[in-house]
């Protein structure tokens, strides 16, 4: 079983992912028998998509402070929801979800 999801990088984060802002991905639907969640996706991205400087993306088992995460749920309104409202890393992914990572750290 696998999930089809989209991932979008904004605010300069695309530079860590081969300078490509949006990616269509197929990822395993479960890991260790549990449904794939956002924490699993973050590590999957590190292992499979990140092209450089891991420390700018991951810190202490989650995204680095200063990176915002939004989830555009497949059945949602199309605008995205702050992951802090969805249980953060525990949010279980669904096929068709779009996940947006935005760095707040660049420029003024």
């Amino acid at each position: 079983m696998s999930l089809n999801i989209s991932v979008v990088f904004q605010g300069g984060l695309d530079n860590l992912f081969s300078k490509k802002p949006s990616h269509k991905l197929t990822i395993p639907a479960t890991s260790d028998g549990k449904p794939a969640n956002l924490t699993y996706l973050i590590f999957w991205l590190r292992d499979n998509l990140l092209s450089e400087r891991e420390e700018l993306f991951i810190q202490d088992g989650t995204v680095r402070p200063g990176i915002l995460v939004l989830v555009n749920e497949v059945e949602g309104s199309g605008d995205g929801t702050d992951w802090e409202l969805l249980g953060e890393g525990d949010y279980e992914l669904k096929s068709g979800d779009e996940i947006i990572f935005i760095s707040t750290l660049h420029g003024g």
């Binding site: 402070p65 707040t104 660049h106």
Partner: protein, 353 residues
């Protein structure tokens, strides 16, 4: 998990958690509270007078792009009666500033505001690319900071504006408070939290986003789909600020109110008179007329160092003395045009309230 309802309107679905209050609110309520808080900040500090000509310091980045959008919206909604301009400084950094200026040019169209671009090349005869080619990447931020500050004032004088607003947000100000504490720069500590600064010979500057969290600025830009540029400067960023910034983000992750708390701490420091007395009295630069605490302003000193091939000497106090002792005439040397304050500065009108 069932969708949560907005804590303010109780109708629409919540889409974000406010870092300042922890409230979970919907998109429209977020736009409303974000804009209204900036409006309240402007009103409480009495930043503007009806008829003011106001330049928005625009870099194409998230903060100034959102500031331009919100200033325009508030000026229309509350009838401030301001004339708004975009003012951009072109430092001459290929692959960085040239791209971000393209964003500002699109903003000019989108927001229908006049745009003035003033370049280091035009003002000082040196681009940052040329400066870095001469001095390397070590101290280039010193040059860029001094040159940008003066360029903004001079651009504002050319536009004949009364006031410059910049996109500095709560996170930036908290960072600066931390840096001033770490450096023991107590005189600056008091000043860096001021929402508005105005010397006798400088154009008024203020920060309408003083209490606005960076997270909310980025969320606002995202939900409004605003067009901004986000790339790190290609020359070595300010490493010291970088450390303060990472430290602050770590604190915020543990306790979101940390940012506002640090700003309040900075505000609570009262600078004693004897500390103030050690600050040098301001005069005007004998070469270019810009305000200065020495005979020559920092920009003229740095420029002279560049022109004479002694650029790094101009950065330290000792080096500057050497430069002065070996002073030669400024003939055959590029200098900065003489600075004059815009004519309309003294005009008085009643504050918007």
């Amino acid at each position: 998990m069932p969708p949560k309802l907005c804590a303010l309107c109780n109708e629409a679905r919540a889409i974000l958690k406010r870092p300042k209050t922890g409230q979970q609110i919907c998109r429209d309520c977020f736009f409303y509270v974000f804009e209204t808080e900036v409006h309240n900040t402007i009103m409480e500090a009495r930043l503007f007078k009806r008829g003011d000509r106001v330049a928005i310091g625009a870099s194409g980045g998230k903060d100034s792009t959102v500031l331009a959008y919100v200033m325009k919206a508030l000026n229309d909604r509350y009838d401030y009666g301001l004339e708004l301009f975009l003012l951009s400084i072109d430092e001459g950094i290929t692959g960085y500033r040239d791209d971000s200026l393209e964003t500002v040019k699109r903003n000019q169209q989108q927001y229908d505001m006049p745009l003035k671009i003033l370049s280091y090349d035009e003002l000082y005869g040196w681009t940052m690319d040329a400066i870095v080619a001469q001095i390397g990447k070590k101290n280039n931020c010193t040059f860029c900071g001094v040159f940008r500050r003066q360029a903004l004032d001079r651009g504002a004088a050319m536009l004949n504006v009364d006031h410059i607003v910049t996109g500095h947000n709560a996170d930036d100000i908290a960072e600066t408070v931390l840096m001033n504490i770490m450096r023991g720069d107590i005189a600056r500590l008091g000043r860096c939290t001021l929402i508005c600064t105005q010397g006798e010979d400088t154009i008024k500057r203020s920060k309408p986003f003083k209490y606005t969290y960076e997270k909310e600025i980025v969320m606002y830009a995202y939900f409004k789909k605003l067009d901004y540029f986000s790339t790190e400067c290609i020359y070595s960023p300010d490493a010291y600020r970088g450390h303060a910034r990472v430290f602050l983000k770590d604190l915020e992750a543990a306790r979101p109110s940390a940012i506002i708390d640090i700003i309040h701490s900075g505000e609570a420091f009262e600078v004693k008179d004897e500390v103030k007395a050690t600050q040098k009295i301001q005069q005007t630069c004998k070469r270019c007329g810009y305000m200065s605490s020495n005979e020559l302003c920092k920009a003229c000193t740095l420029l002279e160092g560049l022109e004479r091939g002694l650029a790094t000497a101009a950065i330290t106090d000792r080096g500057r003395k050497k430069l002065e002792e070996s002073a030669t005439s400024t003939e055959n040397m590029r200098t900065i045009p003489f600075f004059q304050m815009p004519a309309g500065q003294a005009a008085t009108a009643t504050a918007i309230s």
